[in-house]
């Protein structure tokens, strides 16, 4: 109930993982598998002639390229509108930019924006399916889905499992670093517990306020935990079941206002070989990138046998293909709801 002209969000949009049903997650991952198995020429017909706009108010080589290549491999036409180009008129509102793209024939908009919640505004004001490619400090839903797929393909005993509320039973995911500013952390912390994972958030209080416990939602089934001591988090969890360590990038520029000593942070929270081998030698190591070797993660660990970082990138492309197909209602995704 609001007087703002907030239309409905088009089916096929992905603005948040918060209301993404587990069945939807299953459908997206199943489509990802199908698309990946498909021969390239066949795949290129799925979105042939369809128009996708990539609206990037914030630069991001990785995410932008991933969406762009996903769209192109499905045969879609893409256009990049970025704040670096003149396409975003100075001072034009997000709503008006969206309406312009719609008038030019865009059928779906992939949005990266520095303001949390911007995808809601765009989706409601254009009525087009919108894929959130990262908004402010809020969410990065496609990242959470690709992270999930990475776990399902790399963790022992996961392949072929049905996707439901118990799929990640026995799996502990320790997310470590700048959780306050991380949209990846938010999306993962909201999605993974719903598939049965135990999520432990780790970091100093400057980067991880107690308010983060609210990510678990009202019902305790989605509860997340906080453990400030990284060694403890690794050790106690490694002893029961399977373990994933997800490291987050430390953005030096964001530490300026915080009373945080970088050297101290490194000694307490960096994932290096010694720490990994001593505490959780079997853990799967993930990082959404871009990473700073020698800060939150050591080079040896990033390139080591536990690392799934390259798999994440590969899965990103595949999952985004599925999300685009879903957004445009092609290839068996016609009936989905958001």
């Amino acid at each position: 109930m609001t007087i703002l002209e907030t239309g409905t969000v088009a089916a096929g949009s992905l603005l948040t993982v918060a209301n993404l049903a587990v069945e939807e997650v299953a459908a997206i991952l199943a489509a990802t598998d199908r698309l990946e198995r498909m021969a390239a020429p066949e795949r290129a017909k799925i979105l042939a002639g369809r128009r996708i706009a990539l609206l990037f108010y914030e630069s991001s080589t990785r995410t932008r390229t991933s969406f762009e290549l996903a769209a192109k491999s499905l045969g879609a036409m893409t256009t990049l509108v970025s704040d670096k180009s003149s396409s975003i008129e100075k001072g034009e509102s997000l709503k008006d930019t969206g309406l312009t793209l719609r008038a030019l024939g865009a059928e779906c908009i992939v949005l990266r924006h520095a303001n949390s919640g911007a995808p809601y505004l765009l989706a409601k004001s254009t009525g087009l399916p919108v894929l959130n490619a990262g908004d402010g400090m809020h969410e990065h839903p496609s990242q959470a889905l690709l992270d999930l797929r990475t776990m399902l393909t790399r963790l022992p005993g996961m392949s072929g499992r049905l996707i439901n509320g118990k799929t990640l039973g026995g799996v502990t995911v320790v997310i470590t670093g700048d959780i306050l500013h991380s949209r990846v952390a938010r999306s993962n912390a909201m999605l993974l517990p719903r598939l049965g994972a135990r999520v432990v958030l780790c970091g100093p209080k400057e980067l991880l306020p107690e308010d983060a416990l609210g990510l678990g939602g009202a019902d305790s089934s989605g509860a997340v935990e906080i453990e400030r001591d990284f060694d403890k988090a690794l050790k106690q969890t490694a002893s029961n079941g399977t373990m994933v360590v997800m490291m987050l990038r430390i953005q030096r520029e964001r530490l300026a206002g915080l009373e945080l000593d970088l050297g101290d942070y490194i000694s307490r929270y960096q994932l290096d070989e010694e720490r990994l081998m001593a505490r959780a030698p079997e853990a799967l190591v993930m990082h959404p990138g871009p990473m700073i070797r020698g800060l939150e993660i050591s080079g040896e660990v990033a390139d080591g046998p536990n690392s799934a970082i390259e798999d994440q990138v590969r899965n990103g492309l595949a999952v985004r293909m599925a999300l685009l197909v879903r957004a445009l209602g092609a290839g068996g995704f016609e009936s989905v709801t958001v």
Binding site: T2, S93, N115, S116, Y120, G214
Partner: protein
């Protein structure tokens, strides 16, 4: 001006201790007679309002409204804002100075209060406490008070510098008017767009802490005490739109200590919590922000135990295109004049057992007292014929599209209300009739 007879109503006038059936005669813009039912029938009134089943109360008084004129008449004007006030049962409103330009001189204040602006109800104003509301140099309180200033404020901005705030309190104490403070330590709220807490964390929005509010309230109370001790003056601090339990407790203690502190609470702060932000609904974006439920309940407790002196709307209209922006970029504020009574009766009376008489007192006599509006906020014989007639039992839904305000920014579109205004009379003129 013709006589108006209001018959058969239940007169609720807390200031004169009346809550009973009375008939009312309004003549020459004043209350001419208050009599037992039937006694006034002999008087030939040209206009008669049958208030059977209705409450007849003093016109409501709002000490905190933004009318956007001069400078932003695309949002609101003195004419449309006061029309919205009339529709909400208000007969006196106090305009805040954050206009363009800021109301900080005698000329601007006179221009604002000029009849040519077309105010529908009685308009009062609080000019800026400092020039340009920059918080540096205090305005000419004496001259401004001479032409009608009822208090001083830099609303929207706090007076941060201790020395300047102290100077403002001392100057206002000399004239007997309050300094009204928007209590926000802006050094702690840069980049923040809602209340700090789990909701803000989940939405990825930077949050304003409760301390950003309470710290300024505590500082201002310290200044009051210091002035009483060292200057032999008794300054009056009015704390605007209190929203946190912490600031409320500081005010409660200051009152116990005998300091002259008053405060207001806005209907949205006793009705909604930060959950109302939902999916970044900018209609729920305001400053101070909607807080958590414990804070909301503390506002109700403060209203119930008398710590809160009045209800004020902080009516803050904005154009649709301004609110249709990214949450962090959208301006703060919601409209409030037409929903205040309906929310107060629903939440405080029906929901928390506050008497209707007390609700009316918090919206008429008490705010009138804070800014010393003589002859207003009461219906005793001789006072201004400022009257609201409303049906206390009417349950209805507010429709923003039908608002008298130029703007539609409210989180209460479609929200249930209790008590509907049937007529509003300002100085003997019917300015609203349902």
């Amino acid at each position: 001006m013709s006589d108006i007879l209001i018959l058969n109503g239940r007169l609720v006038d807390p200031a004169s201790g009346v809550d009973a059936e009375r008939d009312l005669l309004l003549r020459h813009g004043r209350v001419a007679a208050v009599e037992m039912p039937g006694e006034l029938r002999a008087v030939k009134g040209k206009e008669t309002i049958d208030a059977k089943g209705m409450i007849v109360a003093p016109g409501l008084v709002d000490v905190h409204v933004h009318l956007r004129e001069p400078g932003q008449t695309y949002k609101e004007s003195i004419k449309t804002g006061t029309a919205a006030a009339a529709a909400g049962g208000f007969t006196s409103v106090v305009a805040m100075p954050n206009t363009l330009p800021v109301n900080d001189t005698v000329e601007k204040l006179e221009w604002m209060l000029d009849a040519a602006r077309g105010a529908v109800v009685k308009l009062f104003a609080m000019p800026a406490a400092t020039f340009g509301s920059l918080g540096e140099e205090i305005t000419d309180f004496h001259e401004l008070a001479r032409v009608g200033a009822v208090g001083f404020t830099d609303d929207g901005k706090p007076v941060l510098v201790d020395r300047v705030m102290r100077g403002a309190l001392v100057a206002a104490a000399g004239i007997g008017v309050p300094v009204s403070q928007h209590a926000e330590d802006t050094r702690l709220t840069g980049g923040c767009s809602m209340n700090a807490g789990p909701v803000a964390f989940r939405l990825g929005l930077r949050g304003m802490t409760v301390e950003a509010e309470s710290k300024i309230v505590e500082r201002d109370i310290r200044l009051l005490r210091d002035i009483e001790q060292h200057d032999g003056l008794r300054p009056h601090l009015h704390v605007q739109h209190v929203s946190t339990a912490k600031a409320m407790e500081a005010i409660r203690q200051a009152k116990r200590a005998g300091l002259h502190v008053t405060c207001e609470v806005a209907p949205h702060h006793f009705t909604l919590t930060d959950e109302a932000v939902g999916d970044y609904d900018t209609n729920a974006k305001m400053n101070p922000p909607l807080r958590n439920d414990a804070d909301r309940l503390a506002m109700i407790a403060g209203l119930m135990d008398g710590t809160v002196d009045c209800i004020a709307t902080d009516h803050a209209p904005h154009a649709l295109f301004e609110k249709e922006q990214e949450f962090e970029r959208a301006p703060n504020g919601i409209t409030g004049l037409e929903t205040a009574l309906g929310l107060a009766l629903r939440v405080l009376h029906k929901g928390n057992g506050m008497s209707i008489s007390r609700v009316i007192e918090l919206m008429s006599a008490q705010p009138a007292g804070i800014v010393s509006l003589d002859g207003r906020g009461t219906l005793s014989v001789g006072s201004f014929a400022d009257v609201v007639v409303f049906d206390p039992a009417a349950e209805w839904s507010f429709e923003a599209a039908k608002s008298r305000s130029k703007s539609r920014n409210t989180p209460f579109d479609g929200a249930p209300m209790l008590g509907r205004v049937a007529a509003t009379i300002s100085e003997g003129r019917v300015v609203f009739k349902a």
